[in-house]
Structure formats: structure tokens, C-alpha cells
Amino acid sequence: MYERLMKLIKENLPDKDLSNAKPESRLIEDLGMDSIGMMMLSMSIEDEFGVTFDAPVTFKTVQDVLDFLAKNATK
């Protein structure tokens, strides 16, 4: 699941070197995601993992996303 998620993050951050990214990396402060990027990432996550967001995503770290997916992913 981690690799699948990092692939989506990389697609949204093509200019960033994510080789040192870790589960505790913060999406905005450490990886450089902006608000539109977060929205596009949430849409990619919906498609990839079969989840639905009915509110703006408030994930702080990669681990937050993984925790959410562990509970809610359907594929």
C-alpha cells in the first residue's frame, strides 16, 4: 500500500526528489504539496483505493493517509 500511495504522490510532485520520503514525512511542509495538489492527490486516492472523501482532506503526513487507507480502502 505504501508503494502505491508514494506512486500517486510522485505523480503529483514530478519535480520533487522523494527518495528520502518516509511515512512520517509531512505532505505540505516536507514534500511540498500545495492545496490544489492535495485535492488532485485525494482524487487519485479515491480512484486507486476505492474510497470516497466527503470533506476536504486534512492529512498531515504520509502515515495519516496510510492509517486512513488501512481502515477504508476497498481495493
Binding site: K16, I36, G37, M38, M39, M43, D54, P56
Partner: protein, 320 residues
């Protein structure tokens, strides 16, 4: 309603109020009998204008996204926002060729992301099509949809602008410039310096190098690529300078008793550079045409933007 091409118009968000936008919609109906409209906003107000029901569909969505709202939060928390409903309708209606909105740019971007992303999931860019000194037009991209960008995003903008100018202006190999503070490849901030070599080797891009702000509308390039922050400055400065120049010409005419001739000159310049006549910016990278008029737009801008869409489907150029 028959199967005519349809334009979706979001009536909320103009400084001049929804009446001005509905008046623009009425102009479109009068001038272009081949077009139907879907008008989104306050249903009671729209109905009170007695528009022809066989050509107009009304969608009630009286809420707006203000400049103090976070557009992404508004998307989830407000149920009846006109711009979101309008983009959704544009996506769903097979006959809809595009949407025209004067509302919050961020909200229009969020709506486009949610409902009208293309298959490649391109991050949309807001382009302005500006008259240049060689009697042609220059596509300035981005003008504010992405304030901060990375180099690969600017390369993506170059492709979006190139595709647009090929399709709309029939330019076989559009010349692409990169906005910088000097024409030499060594000039520019980190972003420009990193982007320059990428554009130079990018397949399908006819890169002519860095272009200074003073040459932005010289006609030396057909597509001018910039991050949203810088592109927006070029756009607003150009408009501000045009207004200043026209005002000074009018003052000079009054002072020297040459008002008749200076009014003619000012009229010509206003027609050439007036954003009401030019209509709208266009969101590139969407599945359908998303046109953004300025917040101070009135009826003429709605008519001009509609004409742009009609030109597109008629295989004419943007401002023909």
C-alpha cells in the same frame, strides 16, 4: 429543448450583479439563434427576465464562493454553489460545449478539477489570449491557476499553450517563450533556470528562449510560459498600463484642443485592449471549454466569451 449546442453560464460573482450577466445571456440568445443556454444562479431572478423557455434551462444555485472562502472547503460544505453546479452541468450535458463564469477563480479551478479533468489528469492552467504588436495574439499561460510551479509544470503549460494555438489559431509550429528577466539562457530565478534546458530539449515544443516582460506582447512568441504569480503580474500590468496610456491621451487631447482625434485613438485602443471586448481567459487542460471572465465583467464580456465558444465549435479562430 432540442439538441443544439449549449453554453452554460454561471450568473453569480460579478461586481455588477447577476442582472448584468443575465443581460449578457439575453444578448447571446438574440445574436446566436443556433445556441441554447443553461443559466445557473437565483432561479426566481432568472425567471423574472422572461427568457425563452424553449432555449433556456435554469438551474437554481444561489450560493457563491467569496474571496474569503477556501474554495476546496466550499466545494464540500456548500450544497448549492452556482459555479460548482454550472461546471457539473457542463460535464454532464452532452450538448454543452463550455461554461462561462465571472465568479471566484479558485472555485472555478476546483470545479474543473472535480468534474472536467482530461484523461491525462493534467493540472489545468488559466491562459489569457492577448493582442500582440504583430496583429496576432499571444497565449500567456499561466495567469494565476497555479501560483507556485515546478519546472515540469511549466513544460506542461508549454504543451497546453502549443496545442491551443495550433487548434485555435491554425499556427503550425507555435513559438514558445519563457518569461524571464533577461533573454540570455543564464538569466532568471531558480525556476526559470531549471525550466530553460527542459524546454530546449522537449519534443513537440518550438522553444525560442527567454522573453523579457517588455517583449511579452511584441509578437516574438505565440505562447508565453510563466508561473501563475508572474503571469498574473504581466496580465494586470499590461491592462493597467493600457488604461494609463489611454487616460493620458485623452487628457492631452483636452488640454490641446485635439479631443476629436484623441477620442478616435482612445476608442481604437480601448477596442483593442478592453477586456470586455476580449471576453475571457480560458482554462487549458479541461475536457470542455472553461472560460473565466473578470469579476468586473458586464453583459458585453458574456457576449464576447460566448462568441469565443461559438468560434471554437465553428472551427474559426478565437476572436474571428
Amino acid at each position: 429543448m432540442d439538441n443544439k449546442h449549449t453554453i452554460v453560464i454561471d450568473t453569480l460573482g460579478s461586481d455588477k450583479g447577476p442582472e448584468a450577466i443575465i443581460e449578457g445571456a439575453k444578448m447571446v440568445l438574440d445574436e446566436f439563434p443556433e445556441i441554447n443556454l443553461t443559466i445557473v444562479g437565483d432561479e426566481e431572478l432568472i425567471k423574472s427576465k422572461n427568457l425563452p423557455s424553449n432555449r433556456v434551462k435554469i438551474i437554481h444555485a444561489p450560493e457563491t464562493v467569496t474571496n474569503y472562502d477556501n474554495p476546496i472547503e466550499a466545494f464540500y460544505k456548500k450544497a448549492n454553489v452556482s459555479v460548482f453546479k454550472a461546471v457539473e452541468e457542463c460535464a454532464k450535458d452532452e450538448n454543452a460545449i463550455g461554461i462561462i463564469s465571472v465568479g471566484n477563480t479558485g472555485a472555478l479551478l476546483v470545479g474543473t478539477l472535480r468534474y472536467l479533468l482530461d484523461e491525462k489528469r493534467t493540472r489545468p492552467a488559466l491562459a489569457a489570449i492577448l493582442p500582440n504588436m504583430q496583429k496576432g495574439f499571444t497565449c500567456l499561460v499561466d495567469t494565476g491557476a497555479s501560483i507556485d510551479c515546478g519546472p515540469s509544470q511549466l513544460v506542461e503549460f508549454a504543451h497546453l499553450g502549443t496545442d491551443f494555438m495550433k487548434k485555435l489559431y491554425k499556427i503550425e509550429n507555435p513559438r514558445v517563450g519563457l518569461l524571464s528577466n533577461g533573454s540570455e539562457p543564464t538569466k532568471g530565478n531558480h525556476l526559470v533556470k531549471e525550466t530553460h534546458p527542459l524546454l530546449a530539449k522537449e519534443e513537440g515544443i518550438n522553444f525560442i528562449g527567454n522573453v523579457e516582460g517588455s517583449k511579452a506582447l511584441s509578437g516574438m512568441c505565440d505562447v508565453l510560459v510563466a508561473e501563475g504569480f508572474a503571469g498574473n503580474q504581466v496580465l494586470k500590468n499590461t491592462e493597467g498600463m493600457a488604461i494609463n496610456m489611454i487616460t493620458e491621451i485623452m487628457k492631452f487631447g483636452k488640454k490641446t484642443g485635439n479631443e476629436e482625434i484623441t477620442q478616435q485613438i482612445a476608442g481604437y485602443l480601448m477596442k483593442t485592449y478592453d477586456f470586455e471586448s476580449l471576453g475571457a481567459g480560458i482554462m487549458l487542460g479541461a475536457r470542455k471549454y472553461v472560460l473565466k471572465c473578470r469579476g468586473s465583467s458586464g453583459p458585453v464580456a458574456i457576449r464576447s466569451a460566448s462568441k469565443i465558444l461559438i468560434n471554437i465549435i465553428s472551427n474559426k479562430t478565437f476572436y474571428e
